[in-house]
């Protein structure tokens, strides 16, 4: 079973994402900001990360840049999942090492399509 870390400061979004990804046979962990996500990754590097952008403490982009410098941090497939839906943000995320990008709002079909795109399904 592949392990996906869901990083979002909204518990509602984390719950929705968890339900969708569990249906797609992922094992889920959650983190509510970038710092907590980084700690989680140091303990156990996930196969995939669903990543919000705007979060307290450490935002999604800062987290991604830090993650890619960690030991084993190049391995997780990172899928951004954010309301930031303009070309400038998307381009920055991709340059920082994201693998795919979901513009909120999302549903099961989109998550499934994007995880497929990213080679996770």
């Amino acid at each position: 079973m592949k392990h996906c870390l869901v990083v979002d400061d909204s518990s509602v979004i984390r719950k929705v994402a968890r339900r969708i990804l569990e249906d797609l046979s992922f094992e889920i962990s959650e983190a509510e900001d970038g710092l907590k996500a980084l700690e989680a990754c140091r303990k156990r590097m996930p196969d995939a990360i669903l990543l919000d952008w705007n979060m307290p403490e450490m935002d999604g982009l800062e987290f991604l840049l830090a993650l890619r410098k960690e030991y084993g941090g190049e391995k997780p497939v990172v899928v951004f999942c954010t309301t930031e839906n303009d070309v400038a943000h998307i381009t920055r995320a991709m340059r920082a090492g994201a693998n795919e990008y979901i513009m909120k709002p999302f549903d099961k079909d989109i998550v499934e399509a994007k995880f497929h795109e990213a080679g996770l399904l």
Binding site: N85, E100, M103, A113
Partner: protein, 287 residues
Amino acid sequence: MIASQFEYLKQFLKAKSGLVLTNEKQYLVESRLLPVARRHGHAGLAELIQAMQKPGAMQLCSDVVEAMTTNESFFFRDSTPFQHFREVMLPAMLKARADRRAIRIWCAAASTGQEPYSLAICLKEAAAKLAGYRVEIIGTDLSNEVLEKARNGIYSQFEVQRGLPIQMLLKYFTQKGDLWQINPELRSMVQWRKLNLLESFSTLGSFDIVYCRNVLIYFDQPTKVDVLQRIAKQMPADGYLVLGAAETVVGLTDAFRPVPELRGLYQPAQAAGTQGLVARSRFQVAG
């Protein structure tokens, strides 16, 4: 809706678009046609049906037909038909058409354009190999409304996230507020025509590759057979037909044969002349 009204609509739609309605689809008819009735100033389905039978009801009738079509489509739908395009059909055609240097592709139920544009993107990505070739993509559909959207190439955020990798979105689309428009360069690669598959399409010419996906499922068996056989007539023996995931030629017609190992892919069966020869020699052996 009373039985005779449903019966009338059933026969009307079968004749106009090939759509086969089963009795449990009555709710669908009501939910799709009530807005059409209102738009044309009719109180309900009874009035709508009356108006459809008066002379000069062309626009109303075609609105009814269009309202009953299912137009759902995605970019790179089912992914394998496009993988087959890149890895099998395109290389085969580049080789087979090395003299003529022209390849013609037809999307026979193109709907809102995702299918032809996915092929246009594949062609763009293979541009280096295609240098010197003229590749035409023709997208046709029965419905004016979907053709209009296809021509504009403007899609919602939801639509561009189902099947389209983000890198392709960045590369081939321009953001317009919450919407995304496919770039003029790709738009100019596809020609759009209104076409009802029940009517003759012999004037479209010959096609090396035909995508006819997720439309035959709405037809009855004789209509499927008829459309498939007429498509076969528009194709050279080495052409490729691509059907939808729930569709097949098997058990319908021997105008096409499945390509072994490649699901959803078909080629025209041997030319009629050769089949005749085989039949005759078998007959002689038997005789």
